[in-house]
């Protein structure tokens, strides 16, 4: 077997290029900076564009402009940068601009600790922009995921015309690991669907049964309107409540109704297990070690590693949890996604292990929580 050695951040950059990304803009911030460095190394020489904005707001602004001109765009930052992105994230949600946004999470709150990891932005990514409409958040576990989930993120951004987040973590992004680049299971590349040209173009028109409007690029021959304000199918401001309701419902349904088609996960289901461990991100690695150990010791547990965090893959979670009595949710924060698990499975016993001090949650801590019943 022959491997390369890559850090997660470089794998994200290479995954982006493999997905057809041709525009990147970012602003230096630990621990996401090496994504920007990698894109600068990869993109301009390949005919793409890589820019450093004057701040995070400019970086995502560049991306939204370029995306509307038809390019496949990505930006990368950490928690403090996501805060600055917020207003433009809701723009991309409401005005259906495809973009991949990488959050290499660091220990917060606020400027926090630049070189320490955490999964403290998981709810912030979902709820941190005005309007509260759904977004897609994918969470990689290792360097392979960094590559392949980034490709999926581009595909989803293109397919659903929306922002897609990669919720990475310093402990994935800046950790180097062996990777077999030729052995990865890569998806087919998807690009946004063009609007039909046989009728007058309306930038936000959807036919019956269609949840995502067809796209045309700013700069092509047909005039395109893009607008951050509440708009009608033509892209003009509307105050018609019925029109607005239709649009908001469509923005919600286009993702919630489709999540079963992009529920990335790993499930290790043991028939006779009484306990199900649910986790995501770098913590899934400790959880896998625990799973293996418990199996070896004859005390099997089940393990669900979620890689699609938002929209919440409710069907999957219910399905995997149906035979267990007890669920242990483990997160590198003070308790965020556990709220979703409690919401979905009110009849189960749900215990939580969280930690946010810059250290990884260890297999021993997880085992202790499992045994503490």
């Amino acid at each position: 077997m022959a491997y390369s050695l890559l850090e997660g951040n470089e794998a994200i950059a290479r995954g982006a290029i493999a997905a057809g990304c041709n525009f990147f803009a970012g602003y230096p911030i630990t621990p996401a900076t090496t994504i920007y460095h990698s894109m600068l190394n990869l993109l301009p020489s390949a005919g793409g564009i890589c820019l450093q904005g004057e701040d995070e707001i400019a970086s995502i602004g560049f991306c939204l402009g370029a995306s509307m001109a038809g390019m496949k765009v990505m930006t990368a930052t950490s928690g403090p940068g996501i805060s600055l992105y917020s207003e433009n994230i809701s723009f991309a949600v409401g005005s259906e601009i495809p973009i991949v946004i990488v959050d290499v999470q660091r220990l917060g709150p606020s400027t926090g600790s630049a070189t320490r990891g955490a999964d403290g932005d998981i709810n912030f990514l979902r709820w941190g922009s005005s309007g509260g409409l759904p977004v897609i958040v994918l969470a990689p576990v290792d360097v392979n995921d960094c590559f392949t989930l980034t490709m999926h993120a581009f595909n989803l951004a293109e397919k659903f015309r929306c922002p897609v987040f990669i919720a990475s973590n310093k402990e994935i992004g800046m950790t180097r690991e062996n990777i077999d680049l030729d052995g990865l299971d890569l998806p087919e590349i998807i690009s946004r669907t063009p609007a039909p040209l046989n009728r007058p173009f309306q930038p936000f028109q959807t036919d019956t049964g269609q949840t995502v409007p067809g796209f045309l690029s700013i700069g092509d021959n047909v005039l395109v309107r893009q607008i951050s304000s509440t708009h009608d199918p033509h892209g003009y401001i509307t105050t018609d409540p019925d029109e607005i309701a239709r649009s908001q419902n469509r923005l919600k349904d286009k993702l919630l109704s489709a999540v079963d088609h992009f529920t990335f996960h790993e499930a290790f289901n043991m028939d006779n297990a009484a306990t199900l461990l649910i986790t995501y991100g770098v913590t899934a690695r400790a959880a896998k070690a625990v799973y293996n150990q418990q199996c070896r010791q004859g005390n099997p547990i089940s393990l669900l590693v979620l890689k699609t965090l938002w929209p919440v893959p409710e069907h999957l979670i219910r399905q995997v949890a149906r035979t267990v009595k007890r669920i242990v949710v483990v997160e590198m924060n003070m308790g965020q996604y556990v709220r979703e698990i409690k919401r979905i499975l009110p009849e189960k016993q749900i215990d939580f292990l969280g930690q946010m001090d810059g250290r990884l949650i260890t297999p021993a801590q997880i085992t202790e929580t499992i045994d503490s019943e």
């Binding site: 491997y3 050695l5 020489s45 602004g61 995306s67 896998k288």
Partner: protein, 434 residues
């Protein structure tokens, strides 16, 4: 020529608003340039200036307050052939000041039309970055306390190669707008006008007083000679075209056998500047040359050449899950800062664990085997200690073999660095058991 104005969406400005006049003037400029709608994008943001895109049959991009220049930059880089016209108010200059400065410094071929009416009209006439201190506005006395911004002087200082300050009532305004759009670079027009809905309710401002005020300022009539330079997009494409193609990641074949069979966990405890992270990477690459899986998890502070630097390396024939190390098989103590940061791990070290102790570093109490090396006495520079310690491990046949390390160096380095590092690992003496 056909008007660019959208007959179905006529301007909705207050009667007497200069914005309406500029709307028609901009239409005239487009027509005079012989453009067609799809060759133009109007980028606007929030406030009354943000209504502009609605009235024109062009591409349109209407975004967040103060951020129009950022979208415009993305559009122009993606579509160099497009005429990108940005309309913003004086409010947008305040909230988006950083973007104005950057656009001036960058010199991308955009045209910024600032519809400067000295207040936030849409929200009720609050003071903006250009409000005079003696104006009576909806924000009470606060404007008395701030000095108004001279956008044009700022733009010129920031490097804008084309800056014009003029009245919205200027006779040849269409011609001037045309000249600004035709300019190949970042052009700024600070166009002064009247806001009858808010500003002139309590403040006297007429075409005459605007002209008088402008006459008192140094004229800025377009090209700024000292700022003339290549346009950003063209310049970018020229330099990008000669960038070397990025190399593919090295694919490392398994060709050696590691000295130990099972999983090996190594912690390098050093300080910033000792090339700890590079040494860790080399150990990982060495592991790959023996067909092992490997992870490298690092810890350091935000300071660059100060503070502890720690690298945790796992080499294993099995897939590696958890990347942390609690019970290392090898600890390399390169600097006191690193040792102190992980002082707790020493008391748990197994009896058969190995510590490579570089002279000068004090170890907390432990039961492990200690191997001492005096690298200073061997005239090895502190920056090479981490690599030298890998050579010691290799010579002791712990975790890696000398040929694995040599192969890793050949994969990672080239030229002089390779020669000197090969020389280094060759001459390192392995020291002695404590």
């Amino acid at each position: 020529m056909n008007s660019f104005l959208n007959a179905e969406r006529p301007p909705v400005f207050c009667p007497g608003c200069t914005h309406e006049r500029i709307t028609h003037t901009l239409d005239q400029a487009f027509q005079d340039m012989g453009l067609v709608g799809h060759q133009v994008v109007i980028v606007s943001d929030i406030g009354c200036s943000g209504l502009f895109d609605t009235f024109f049959h062009t591409h349109a991009f209407h975004g967040l307050h103060g951020r129009a220049l950022t979208y415009a930059a993305g559009l122009k880089m993606a579509r160099p052939e497009l005429k990108v016209v940005v309309t913003m108010g004086d409010g947008g200059q305040g909230i988006g000041g950083a973007h104005l400065l950057a656009a001036c410094r960058r010199n991308l071929d955009l045209t910024l039309l600032i519809l400067n009416n000295f207040n936030f009209g849409m929200t009720g006439g609050q003071f903006s970055a250009t409000t005079p201190p003696d104006a009576q506005l909806g924000s009470g006395f606060l404007n008395q306390l701030e000095r108004p911004l001279d956008i044009c002087e700022v733009a010129r200082s920031a490097g804008a190669p084309y800056v014009m300050r003029c009245s919205g009532f200027r006779k040849n305004l269409a011609e001037e707008i045309q000249r600004a759009i035709a300019y190949k670079g970042f052009s700024v027009m600070d166009i002064w006008g009247i806001c009858p809905g808010r500003y002139t309710k309590k403040n006297r401002l007429t075409t005459k007083t605007i002209d008088d005020a402008l006459a008192k300022l140094p004229p800025l009539e377009g090209m700024v000679a000292e700022n003339t330079r290549p346009e950003y997009g063209q310049h970018y494409r020229k330099i990008a075209a000669v960038q070397k193609k990025a190399a593919k990641p090295a694919v490392i074949e398994a060709q050696y056998e590691a000295p130990q069979i099972g999983r090996q966990e190594v912690i390098l405890l050093g300080s910033a500047g000792q090339r700890i992270i590079t040494a860790g990477e080399l150990l990982c690459i060495a592991g790959l040359t023996a067909g092992l899986k490997t992870t490298q998890k690092n810890e350091y502070n935000i300071t660059v050449l100060r503070g502890p630097s720690i690298s945790e390396l796992i080499l294993s024939p099995e897939k590696i899950d958890y990347t942390g190390i609690d019970m290392p098989s090898v600890v390399v103590a390169l600097d006191q800062e690193g040792v102190d940061r992980r002082g707790n791990l020493f008391k748990h070290l197994a009896k058969d664990a190995l510590i490579i102790q570089i002279s000068g570093v004090t170890l907390p109490a432990n039961k492990a085997d200690i191997h001492r090396v005096d690298l200073k006495a061997q005239s090895i520079k502190r920056t090479d200690w981490a690599l030298a310690s890998l050579a010691v491990l290799a010579k002791l046949e712990k975790v890696l073999q000398p040929e694995m390390l040599e192969a890793a160096l050949k994969i990672k380095f080239k030229g002089k660095t390779l020669t000197s590092s090969l020389d280094l690992i060759g001459r390192v003496e392995i020291g002695e058991w404590a």
